[in-house]
């Protein structure tokens, strides 16, 4: 997936200011930054939901799965009914087989008949991701997938997301949790106020943080990262 010179304005405010991004097949990329950095806007443009004012996006095979921040599913339907609906809308030859596959993948086979509204936030997010996977995407975009989840639910969610990468699916996710990004992202893209501040591995980011904010080198990584942003004028 390639994106070049992405610019997006909402009225007077510039949400993205010329962002470039290149992601290889099977790679897991974390987009991090404070609130209002432009993470959701970037993912929405990559997903094709929002049009950039400038710049271009090239997607692999045109198939990009999209998992919005808030679960996009029908809470009054069961787990199975939700998956079946989207499998049918995706035009699967055997939608029921696809549903079984996703139930197996999410580990929710035993809860297939439960109304989604009665499931925990973590389980709803797993179905949300499973629906995103129904299009059999080469790349999956997740917008802050762990928001609102407790630590145990987060661990299960990231285990599931990591397994997708192992299956060859490119994963691009956004988060404002620096530790989560460091742990689950093979590469990190740092955004702040629409600017791309950094693109590299977690180790490279640590090195950059220590070199640009040496006064915070002895602090924990999150504090050092905040100092790094301040050094860059954000």
């Amino acid at each position: 997936m390639r994106a070049r010179g992405l610019v997006k304005r909402y009225g007077e405010r510039e949400a993205l200011r010329g962002i470039d991004l290149s992601v290889e097949a099977g790679e897991r990329v974390a987009i991090i930054g404070p609130n209002g950095a432009g993470k959701t806007t970037l993912l929405s443009i990559l997903a094709g939901i929002v049009r950039p004012d400038r710049g271009e996006v090239r997607s692999p095979n045109g198939r990009v799965g999209w998992v919005p921040q808030q679960a996009a599913l029908y809470r009054r339907l069961t787990v199975e009914e939700n998956l079946l609906l989207f499998a049918r809308l995706e035009g699967h030859d055997d939608p029921r087989a696809s549903v079984e596959e996703m139930l197996e993948l999410t580990g929710l086979a035993e809860r297939r008949s439960e109304i989604v509204a009665r499931l925990s936030g973590g389980n709803q997010q797993r179905i949300n991701i499973a629906i995103g996977l129904l299009s059999r995407p080469a790349a999956l975009l997740l917008d802050e997938p762990s928001v609102g989840l407790d630590p145990r639910q987060r661990a299960r969610l990231w285990g599931f997301v990591s397994s997708l990468g192992e299956r060859g699916t490119t994963v691009i996710f956004s988060t404002h949790d620096i530790q989560e990004a460091e742990r689950y992202g093979q590469r990190l893209l740092v955004l702040a106020d629409g600017d791309g501040l950094f693109d590299g591995t977690a180790e490279e980011l640590r090195a950059a943080v220590h070199s640009e904010a040496p006064e915070a080198a002895s602090s924990d990584f999150e504090t050092a990262f905040v100092a790094f942003l301040q050094h860059r004028g954000h």
């Binding site: 094709g48 996009a72 029908y74 009054r76 339907l77 989207f86």
Partner: protein
């Protein structure tokens, strides 16, 4: 699209209370409205107390009129609730069981008879009303005025008829009862014929001239009194109404009431359902996911309108079937019913989609749907002449912008052959369908905003 339809039906089924409210509430309201309108307006319920002693008669001259049957006549015009005394009459009015109480006081006939005496007293009837609101007050006043005018007319006719009988006696002669004794009246006609038979035997001279004068008078009086009798009859009701209907034939009131109830049902079900289910797509965050290549926004709109039309059709037909035991409907026109309901449902569904796309949240949508549908429906029922000309033009223009009025016309035309042409309202509905669909499609651009 069928999978989305199936999904919406599953969601409806999953929310029994919502489904129940959506279907039963409009049917209940529609039936209540329908029956309220279809109730015969000439038959209000009135408490009636007749205190006039039995056998009292209105006197004309030395004679007494036979019983007029005022009570029977009044109770033919209104639904009488006979009460025993004034207290019971007041209780019935206060509780709202009756619109008003009409009391004929004991001295009514005496006062009527006093009109021909040197000490006339105005005859009065007592009316007890509960004017708890201005509309009811106006209604009661109109009803009572109409009833009294009717009673006065009956009495005047009876008096005129009695006067005519006396004139007949004067002209043609006959027997006449006074104080139990029968008196034979000769009459002008017989008087003249007796005098004419006597005249040839009288020699010419002053006596015969005088007889000729009497004969001329008798002929003149007879001729004029012949004219007086129909004149007396006309005095009782000098002006009669000659009504000319210049509009197209209209369906019976009951059929109109059913058309109102059906359109109201269809409007609430379709607008609420379409607007609500469209807003739900956004509340569930499903809209961006759906329109990312799975379904086009236009197809989603079509699906919502189809859902509204399908459910609206079923509910409306069920309502019509439910009304059948009370009012006979022409089932041979079933095909036209379906055409009218589908066309109305489609236009209402498109309006609902525009509301849903504009309001975006289910709760806001429900409120907006009620706020738009209810006043428009009520305004659509305002007849011409009930308000000032300018206001009526404004109402007509406003109601023409929403599918309720043309829908009512279409359903009325489909239900009854006297309901007018179906083509014009169908064309109106088609224009509104296209306009609202375009508005909804435009509003969906904002709907999709993240």
């Amino acid at each position: 699209m069928r999978w989305l339809l199936l999904k919406d039906l599953q969601i409806l089924r999953r929310s029994p209370l919502q489904a129940l409210l959506l279907v039963l509430y409009p049917i209940l309201i529609a039936l209540l409205v329908g029956f309220a309108i279809s109730r015969d307006p000439d038959k209000p319920r009135v408490a009636f107390l007749n205190e006039v002693p039995e056998g009292s008669r209105i006197a004309v001259g030395d004679g007494r009129l036979p019983a007029i049957g005022v009570e029977d006549r009044i109770c033919a015009a209104v639904e009488c609730s006979h009460v025993a005394d004034r207290e019971e009459a007041i209780d019935e009015v206060r509780s709202g069981d009756v619109l008003a109480a009409l009391i004929l006081p004991a001295d009514l006939v005496d006062r009527l008879n006093s009109l021909a005496s040197l000490n006339p007293r105005t005859p009065e009837v007592d009316v007890i009303v509960n004017e708890e609101d201005p509309v009811k007050a106006r209604l009661v006043d109109d009803r009572i005025d109409a009833l009294l005018a009717q009673a006065n007319l009956v009495a005047a006719r009876r008096i005129a008829a009695e006067g005519g009988r006396y004139l007949g006696l004067l002209i043609d002669g006959g027997s006449f009862e006074v104080l139990g004794q029968s008196i034979e009246i000769l009459g002008l006609r017989r008087t003249a014929s007796i005098l004419e038979s006597v005249r040839p035997v009288l020699p010419p001279g002053p006596l015969r001239d005088a007889l000729d004068e009497v004969l001329r008078f008798a002929g003149l009086a007879r001729g004029n009194l012949d004219v007086a009798e129909p004149l007396l009859d006309r005095v009782a009701q000098p002006i009669v109404v000659d009504k000319q209907v210049i509009s197209e034939p209209v369906p019976p009131l009951q059929v109109f009431a059913i058309a109102v109830a059906a359109t109201l049902t269809l409007a609430f079900v379709t607008v609420l359902l379409v607007a609500g289910s469209l807003a739900l797509e956004r509340e569930e965050n499903a809209f961006p996911r759906l329109t990312r290549g799975l379904v086009s926004p236009t197809a989603l709109l079509v699906e919502k309108v189809l859902l509204g039309v399908a459910i609206g059709l079923v509910v409306t037909l069920l309502m019509l079937a439910g009304v059948q035991p009370f009012v006979s409907l022409e089932w041979s026109r079933f095909g036209l019913w379906v055409v009218a309901v589908v066309a109305t449902g489609a236009a209402l569904g498109a309006a609902g989609a525009a509301l849903g796309a504009a309001a975006r949240e289910v709760r806001a949508v429900s409120l907006l749907a009620f706020m738009v549908t209810l006043p428009i429906a009520l305004l659509s029922l305002v007849p011409s002449g009930a308000v000032g000309g300018g206001v009526y033009d404004l109402i007509r223009a406003l109601t023409a912008l929403f599918p309720f009025r043309p829908g009512l016309d279409a359903i009325g035309a489909a239900l009854d052959p006297a309901g007018g042409s179906l083509g014009e309202p169908l064309a109106h509905l088609a224009i509104l369908l296209v306009a609202y669909a375009a508005l909804a499609r435009l509003a969906l651009r904002r709907f999709a905003a993240v």
